[in-house]
Amino acid sequence: MKFSQSALALAALGVVVLSSPVPSATDAVAAESGAATAPADPAVLLRLSPSQYRHSIHDIFGASIKITGRFEPETRSEGMLSVGARLASITDSGLQRYDELARGIAAQVVDERHRDLLIPCKPQSATGADAACARQFFARVGRMLYRRPLAAHELDGIVAAAGDATSVLKNFYGGLQLALTEMLISPEFLFRRFQMEPDPERPGQERLNAYGKAAELSFFLWNTTPDEALLRAAESGEIHTRAGLEKQVDRLMSSPAMEDGLRGFFADMLEFADFETVSKDPAFFPSYTLSAKLDSQEQTLRTIVDHVMVREGDYRDLFTTRHTFLTRSLAALYGVPLVDKTENGQPQRWLPYTYPEGDPHAGILTHASFLALHSPSGRSSPTDRGKALRELLMCQRVPPPPSNVDFSVVQDVNSEVHRTARDRLTAHATEATCAGCHRITDPIGLALENFDAAGGYRTHENGAPINPAGEINRVKFDDPIGLGQAIRNVPAITNCVARKAFAFGSGRMPVAANPEWKQISQAFADSNYNVLALLREIALSDLFYAPPAATTVASTSAR
């Protein structure tokens, strides 16, 4: 929930910005010291995210399987849906939705178009049960779906269930379809499970088992279920050796599927899931079309993938880079003269674009994916944008506004005196109770006031010129370009992306004081903030696979 749809609804609470969320014994420091004595909570369930679900189905059954339907909303915790996945259970209407998805998928897997490709055998009779053929199918598919081989009794159970259904329906494929539907709504598929086992190399301690390790790695780097090679490395135990793990990490990182992992991570960190509820008034923002809204997310993800994977650039330069990619819809929104020779009526193409020197656009903060997502539908909010920058990109927490703010000071929004957001906020911030918090959000957000609530460029608001000067950590700047340069040099930016990358894979935030985490952070700095180097460092660390402590799981659900 966005706390401030009003740019003015934020006020001070004594304390200014908190440096980072308070560690809640979630970390491996606790786990490492406590594992020998108290493995009280050896497994943890994390609900698959919608993108993990989609990628898994496409990897197992092929991209031609259509996934129609919607998912239960996700829960965000510590700024990440992947951390919230630890808290998520499956509600009644959530299961209804999974059931709809599962029935749609299972029907396609056994249909005439797909069955020869996806079912490795033909039944003896199309109208009767064939346990041997069903067994072949479920042994393969079950291992992929559950990310581990099925136990004998599990395989027996599902084959028998398919047989029972076949005898009711007098249709082999119908029976297979219903049993597969069942598997697709099973907790073994819908939840990732951290299964621990005794660690033979460190007697008395526990480690993540080989299949759990394969899954953790795969969801981290590819945002999908482990492939055959990873499952084999788990089966042979190779993944437990340093050389074996390195081989898999390097293999995954050199694959094009690495892009899916990066996209999944940054979409989570930048809260793109919230675009579902974003809508702007076409009367005010005619260029903010549905395709502009969708393209703006893609613009940012493309820019990140290009910068991080192709150029292997410094993460900090994402806030200053003039390189990006645009479509016609976005060019119209930004007022950029883009030459696209695509025929009318053809799908829009993505074209690389470099903003010229002196252009007010540079870096991902000037993308509509940031500017529009953190604005109410009708007008921009420097407070919302400043808060988002602090929370999403710097891992800081801005306190909520107190409930009893008196707004009489700025009652008149049609005031001739307070025409711009800066004027109104300045008036509001004369209130002592409000000034403290607005000081930490507004000077950042005001620098982006040259961009309206949809991300379009402007120089005036209500006829008055906009002054985009601002300040962060006592560094002053004159405009959005200056903001990008100042943000680039704030240490919290790199700490935050590293912490959130770890959380994306493991479902928990690392604790800054952990010695192994310090090493990972240092290696990231030594690489000139190369995100790929960071991901590799995390994927090869012991910390990443350390037993999740029982206390990791909070008892309350997030709003």
Binding site: T91, G157, I158, D164, V168, R379, P400
Partner: protein, 448 residues
């Protein structure tokens, strides 16, 4: 301000023209299907069901003093509720109730509802076991859907309905809601023939076949994970129950008709109040049919989350911001722009009540056999007040509530109204709420 009644009438007419059969809600239940008193089905003697609906609007009734001067019957509806005038005899207006924070922070647009709808203010974001779920736990166990949740602004998190495992997501698309209720799995209760679907029979056998091994999963899990699995199994039982219900021949319900499928919407999100209310009207039509066809007996609607981001066309400032920034008109005594939103919402409530009232089940309308309960997030939104909450009920719950009254209880605990609702709907509770929000007696004067 224009007369809301006139506006409502015009809206109806327009909708009738634009949306064709939008307010066509079925035929009366034929008396021959009912017993002599018109209170139960003749064939089985099963009583005609009682239903419960909740309807949430954000940001209260604004800053004005909306409390009627007169208590009991014969009160004058405040200007903010003029749209409900046609239902004055069937409604009750509760005023004065308060949520107590007991030292917790007032989480704006949240703590109040947390207090009166779950019974406890926790200072955190947890929201479990809402009043409607206690009610659906009693009256919703035998229908396909224990309850249905919808939201009108495209936000699936706008619902306040929560079971033991937390909030239920809301359906935001009328087209998708139609498919859920009236899609291929829907069995027409009035169909001449009933043949159980073999796929459903097979499905049921598959589910029971693998259930036992699933229970073994819980082994070795910690408490939090076991709780998650418990929730999963509860959801799975509900799924099984839906299959069971699909295999039983339904009671004939001649007030039940299958509505037309609404159009697919282009964009999930909505930012204009008028667009949200158009979607509202499509959603309540489907919910009305769903109750008339006994697919569910409990429905929960939210227009938005408490902090409504809806706007009036042409105005860049949203309702929530206006509640804080708009001056109170010195002559009228209320915020004029905010009142426009309240009126939009209340016209929607009147539309819903009107649809329910048109469905005739024997001697009474569907509205008469249910309670439509309307509530909001703040007593007065500008300073996020938790005092003087307006609660509205429409319908008597099949004679369990007296109606037509204003019940002022200044300073009383707001949870007393939800306790009264639970008792009226047959939930066996004698108290509700914790600490200062705990109540041990209902509002007797409305219980019939």
């Amino acid at each position: 301000m224009k007369s809301s009644v006139a506006m409502l009438a015009r809206r109806r007419v327009l909708r009738g023209i634009v949306a064709g059969a939008a307010v066509n809600v079925g035929l009366p239940l034929f008396d021959c299907l009912l017993n002599d008193n018109g209170t139960a089905f003749a064939a089985t003697g099963a009583p005609i069901p009682t239903r419960f609906a909740t309807w949430f609007w954000g940001l209260g009734l604004g800053e004005a003093d909306w409390r009627p001067k007169v208590a009991g019957r014969g009160f004058e509806l405040p200007v903010q509720l003029q749209a409900l005038k046609p239902f004055q005899d069937k409604l009750n207006l509760f005023s004065g109730g308060e949520v107590f924070l007991d030292g917790q922070a007032n989480q704006t647009h949240f703590s109040g509802v947390q207090g009166f709808w779950t019974g406890k203010v926790t200072g955190a974001g947890d929201f479990f076991s809402s009043v409607d779920s206690a009610i659906s736990g009693v009256i919703g166990k035998t229908t396909r859907f224990r309850s249905l949740e919808v939201a009108c602004d495209g936000d699936p998190k706008a619902s306040w309905s929560a079971r033991a495992d937390g909030k239920q997501p809301a359906e935001v698309s009328p087209a998708a809601l139609y498919r859920t209720i009236f899609g291929p799995e829907y069995r027409d209760p009035n169909a001449a023939e009933f043949v159980p679907d073999p796929t459903v029979i097979a499905r049921r056998s598959v589910l029971s076949g693998v259930k036992d091994q699933r229970l073994a999963l819980a082994k070795g899990l910690g408490a939090a994970d076991r709780a998650k699995l418990d929730n999963y199994f509860t959801s799975l039982r509900a799924l099984e129950q839906r299959l069971e219900i699909q295999l039983q021949k339904p009671e004939p319900l001649l007030a039940c008709t299958r509505p037309d499928a609404p159009p697919e919407e282009q964009n999930q999100a909505v930012s204009l109040a008028t667009d949200a209310m158009k979607r509202h009207d499509l959603l309540v039509e489907l919910l009305t049919h769903a109750m008339a066809c006994d697919q569910t007996r409990v429905v929960n609607l939210s227009i938005t989350q408490g902090m409504s981001g809806l706007r009036k066309e042409g105005d860049p400032i949203n309702h929530h911001t206006l509640t804080h920034e708009e001056p109170i008109d010195p002559v009228l005594g209320y915020q004029v722009k905010c009142a426009w939103f309240q009126d939009q919402y209340m016209q929607g409530l009147a539309t819903f009540a009107g649809m329910l009232d048109k469905v005739k089940e024997g001697d009474k309308s569907l509205l008469d056999r249910m309670i439509l309960f309307a509530y909001t997030d703040h007593g007065a939104p500008r300073l996020h007040s938790l005092r003087n909450y307006p609660f509205i009920t429409i319908g008597s719950g099949d004679g369990r509530l007296k109606t037509g009254m204003h019940i002022p209880r200044p300073g009383d605990v707001a949870t007393r109204v939800p306790l009264t609702m639970q008792q009226a709907m047959g939930v066996p509770v004698s108290e509700f709420g914790t600490e200062s929000n705990r109540v041990t007696s209902p509002i007797e004067e409305v219980l019939a």
